[in-house]
Symmetry: D2
Subunit: 278 residues, 4 copies
């Protein structure tokens, strides 16, 4: 940048480093997606194309940024966990936050035609984002439990709501009234009695959301001890190993998987101790 007499204005740019030793969670949310889903005729209560598209954007982001080790998505939101020791962009808050938000948005628009071949984008969608610091594993576990519990509650409600509207002939106002004050068990019962739908048989993608995890590939035991993950370059589904740098610890091979499993219980985490390791 020009080293002119005006360059003093850079002094107004203040440092914004994030506290070391904390996990980072970056959560992105669709901006005005209620309208966006209407305008693009998303299927209710869940549009599988839209969900697969946002998963794709999330997976691309994880391929590009190795310090993201886990992501969870539902509807038009996605949360990304960066490992505690990440030094991405020297932990500068605005730089990390905007880079992730921008690349995710770009991937979403870029891949749109692949998932909506017959529905051209009518206008550019956008997302907002924030980074939250969490000091310990307990909070991280509870954060992801919070999002998945939210997925469950929303999806059960929406499933019954849209059944009442689409199959039961209720207006949306009537459907809300029908559901007001009902408990979870009552919603299950209503679904089954009136619409012969067993909620448990609904797609795990809808009930559990999307869990995108950086998995360690099977390797000699001592390798899993090193926490620095391999700098791979991924484009789409294909993963290219970077040539190993000299003098560097050998890093474990990893792969990025999309799952629709429970992450509230212990099983998921116990099987992947590297996620919360420091």
């Amino acid at each position: 940048m020009a080293n002119s007499k005006y360059a003093y204005v850079r002094n107004f740019e203040l440092p914004d480093p994030l506290l070391p030793g904390c996990y980072l969670i970056c959560r992105l949310d669709g901006h005005s997606f209620h309208r966006f889903s209407e305008e693009h005729a998303f299927v209710k209560p869940n549009d599988e194309r839209a969900l697969k598209l946002i998963d794709h954007a999330a997976k691309d982001l994880m391929s590009e940024y190795k310090d993201i080790i886990l992501a969870f998505g539902e509807s038009d939101e996605f949360s990304f966990l960066l490992r505690k020791s990440t030094n991405l962009y020297n932990r500068r808050q605005a730089k990390i936050l905007t880079t992730l938000t921008s690349y995710f948005t770009s991937c979403y628009v870029f891949h749109w035609p692949q998932y909506f071949p017959d529905t051209p984008l009518r206008y550019p969608p956008s997302f907002d984002g924030r980074i939250v610091l969490y000091p310990d594993e307990r909070a991280i576990r509870d954060y992801f439990s919070w999002r998945q519990a939210d997925t469950h509650i929303n999806n059960l409600y929406n499933t019954v709501f849209w059944a009442l509207v689409q199959q039961g002939g209720q207006t949306t106002t009537e459907a809300h009234a029908t559901l007001r004050g009902t408990f979870s068990a009552q919603k299950h019962e209503l679904l089954f009695q009136r619409f012969q739908v067993n909620y448990n048989e609904i797609s795990a993608r809808f009930k559990k959301g999307s869990v995108i995890v950086r998995e360690l590939l099977n390797e000699p035991e001592d390798v899993t001890a090193t926490l620095e993950l391999e700098p791979v370059t991924t484009r789409g589904e294909e993963t290219i190993r970077a040539p190993p740098k000299r003098k560097e610890k050998r890093k474990p091979k990893t792969t990025i998987e999309i799952l629709h499993c429970d992450i509230i219980g212990d099983e998921f985490w116990q099987a992947r101790p590297h996620l919360l390791a420091s």
Copy 2:
């Protein structure tokens, strides 16, 4: 969001309001655009299609966010001025920053085929962003002077550099060597003597960058006194006036113009006192 026992994790989200009474400048920069411009065969030293594309994204952003009253762009960067009294998203920093970054990125990808009909995007481009607070008009003037001086310096250098390479047959290393230590006048002379190029006749778009300004349309004098700008809805080139809300001060009609003019001198600013008014 689920009001579950996990919801306490929201307590880790800290407030981030921006200081009132200051101008906000949001600057976006292309992420790894050196590689991006190579991969998409941008014309050197200036690719008019790419510049018009980024201008379009910037104009869209200003159409969507009325509190942006001025923007300046060059190459793969754009700076947006939000008026001092903006209360966009209650001045929450991350919200403003990510929303602007995301929408701008989305517009860039969305409009790509219009400017590069024969060059499909090979991968999703992205931008990083930051918001800087400036307390007074002097700093705002100097900020924009800083960016436009930078445009001038870069463009003169690049114009001569690529002439040496493309027409003079030098390697890029030789061209850098040729230019090392030369003053502005020498570069002008070199351009003219060896390549018969009069720098002053080069497109203003390249020499001055792009100035996108929210102009007040001519109206009765008392109206220009109110600083709140009209909530218009714009999509592409078309501008639709929103129906006036009741009990609201009549707001001045505005339009968004793309210029390639000097903004270092006083003329531009004196003709538009509303830009820096409080």
Copy 3:
């Protein structure tokens, strides 16, 4: 500090620079001074000794920190204005804030016996503090108007309240009830009718609070143009000029004065243009 293997813990200390180009106001408030004034038998509604003591501490702070150009105090609080361009401690927030708070507290305890020779301190008093940034002169003017208007309102109330209690024989509960909902004019009237007190004749110190200002001493005109104030060393009332540094602009001589005048109107400020100059 030890350059040991533990020194990495310094990395958790994050930078906290204050935005340049803004005025700083540091406001200190007595901590639990209701109890403190009871325990040390402060005279009600105003204890002149206590007010002179806190003025002394404030003046000492201004003598020690040249970038404080104005202070305003009432009761157990004091606000200090640091000039816009101050570079005290590189504008590090915690450093400035704690140093001012600590020195002010220390001066208060140090000078206590001079103002309360017969009342030993029963326990250590303390103050809390905060720094607020203000981007322009208007906000600074309004800040000081806010504090002086507060002084006026509180002092009028307290003056009548304690007259009702001390001379009128009311309980404090009764006195509050008497005053509930009364306007300013009614309070004046009540004071005059029942207690023959003309509020306007009350000490300006009580009605206006304390204004401590760094005054420029009369000097050739061109000097007042330079805004950097002279690095004097002051202890108590005596002012020692520092020897002039080489190559440095001659700085204006200043003195620190305690006034009890109006600072809401323009007169005070127009007579001292250096206070808000940039």
Copy 4:
């Protein structure tokens, strides 16, 4: 405060909450204590009166603020550990920081005559402070190890340095030269050979610094499980138990002890699991 038309200036006061779930360390440092110790003729290399005075101020601070569970001091600095879950002043940074700094300063000045009966204060001493967040126990352990290692290194150096000056007749310049590049073992040897001083026999207060810890008093086991410490009111050495509030868990009795022991090893911490418990 006056609810006048000026009250909008409060909008410039921005929130500054500290991240939950992190330990807080508040470190206070004497401001220009090199000069202060000269002016008040502190004994070199260690002035026991000054050390006892600063310990007294630190202990007073812990008596007043129950969430401080540990402190470590050396020379003119003191670090205070607030427990992870503290909600003191709603974790507002400036409020906590200034209140602690101010009260500590006040105690230091207040108790001065008790420790320096024949040396009146010549001017008010002051301290600066900062709060640093630490996310986990490891960092807290390392923080205190860092300070105590620093104490050891400084004290060994100063002990030999002042022996060379006071007993060996060297100038301070010569003494620094003598010590340049020497290792710890050489300093021990030099002390012993030339001055017959066995460093290990030097007072633990000088070698280890001051460790001030809130100890749990022996009580039935179940009580130690509750982490909230008892709201006692302490003034000087006397401790008064507050009357128990209704419906509140019984809190463990605590006492504040000053020790001069090792805190780098595990023993100290293993004996006091409540210090780092969450």
